[in-house]
Symmetry: C2
Subunit: 127 residues, 2 copies
DNA sequence: TCAGTTTTCTACGCTTCGTAGAACTGTAAC
DNA sequence: GTTACAGTTCTACGAAGCGTAGAAAACTGA
C-alpha cells in the first residue's frame, strides 16, 4: 500500500516542504499556487474544492502518512515522517521483497553517481 | 508505472526463477503448483484459465517487463531483465523522485544490517 | 439560536487488475 | 485444401484505488 496518486503526492510534497502543520484550506491555496507556477504561465492553478483536499487528507491518514490534530477546530495536518525517512522506508520495502538482496544492492550501487558513492562511503565509514 | 498486481507478481516470480522462456501453459501449470505448495496443504492450487495468464502476460509486456518470441507458435515469454536488475531499478526510481537524495541515502544506510553494510563497503571499494 | 466554517458521507467516472468467455488464427493431419 | 484443435487476441465484468466534489452533518462565534 505504498503508491500514491498524483494529487496525494502533491499534498504530501506540500506537507513535507512546510515545517508546520497545515489546514485543508491552506493546502488548497498552496495547491492552486504551486501548480500555477510550476506548470508555467497559461496553465492556471487548479482551484480544487476544499472537500477534495479533505478527502485526500483522510485517505493519506488512513495510509498512515499523515496525522491530524483533531483538537483544534480547523484540523491541522502534518506528515508522520519526513520525506527522506519515507523514501528510505520505501527503498527498504522494495529491497525487502527480493530474495537476492545482495545482488540487488550490487546492481544498485553499480548505477550510482560517483558523488553519491562518496557519500555512501562516508556514511558507511563510521558504523 | 511500477507496481504490480498479485498475479502479475506471481508470474514475474516464475519468469525470474526459470532460466528459459516459458509458454503460457507452462506458467499456468506452475502457478497451480506453486500456490499449492507455498500456501500450505488444504489450500489447493489455483487452476487459472490459460487466457487469464495470457492477459497478464500481455499486460506485463506492455509494461516492458516481459518480452515474447512471436516466431514460435506457442509464444515463449521471458523477463526482460533479471529480478535483481529490476529491483535495483525500482530502488533508483524511488530514490530519483526525491529532491534530498543524500538525506534519503543516509536514512537508508542507517537501517541496513551490518552484514549488508559490509557488502556495500566492498562494492564501493573497487569503484 | 443563527450564520458561517469545517468536517463527514456519499457518489460518480476513470483506471488498474484478476478473471475468463468468445471469437479468431495458425498448424498439423488427413 | 478442408478440418479439428491448440494457441492467441478481443471484449468484458467486477472490485479497488484515486480525483473530484455536492449534500448533509457538526461545530463555533456572536
Amino acid at each position: 500500500m505504498a503508491s500514491l496518486g498524483e494529487l496525494e503526492r502533491a499534498v504530501m510534497d506540500l506537507l513535507w516542504a512546510g515545517q508546520e502543520a497545515a489546514t485543508a484550506n491552506t493546502l488548497r491555496d498552496q495547491l492552486a499556487r504551486t501548480s500555477a507556477t510550476q506548470d508555467g504561465p497559461g496553465h492556471e492553478g487548479k482551484e480544487l474544492a476544499v472537500t477534495t483536499v479533505l478527502t485526500v487528507l483522510s485517505r493519506l491518514e488512513k495510509k498512515g502518512l499523515v496525522e491530524r490534530e483533531r483538537g483544534t477546530r480547523p484540523h491541522r495536518y502534518q506528515a508522520v515522517s519526513s520525506r527522506a525517512d519515507h523514501t528510505a522506508e520505501l527503498m527498504h520495502e522494495v529491497l525487502g521483497s527480493a530474495p537476492d538482496r545482495e545482488a540487488v544492492l550490487a546492481r544498485f550501487i553499480g548505477s550510482v553517481s560517483e558523488g553519491e558513492a562518496e557519500t555512501l562511503r562516508k556514511l558507511l565509514g563510521h558504523l
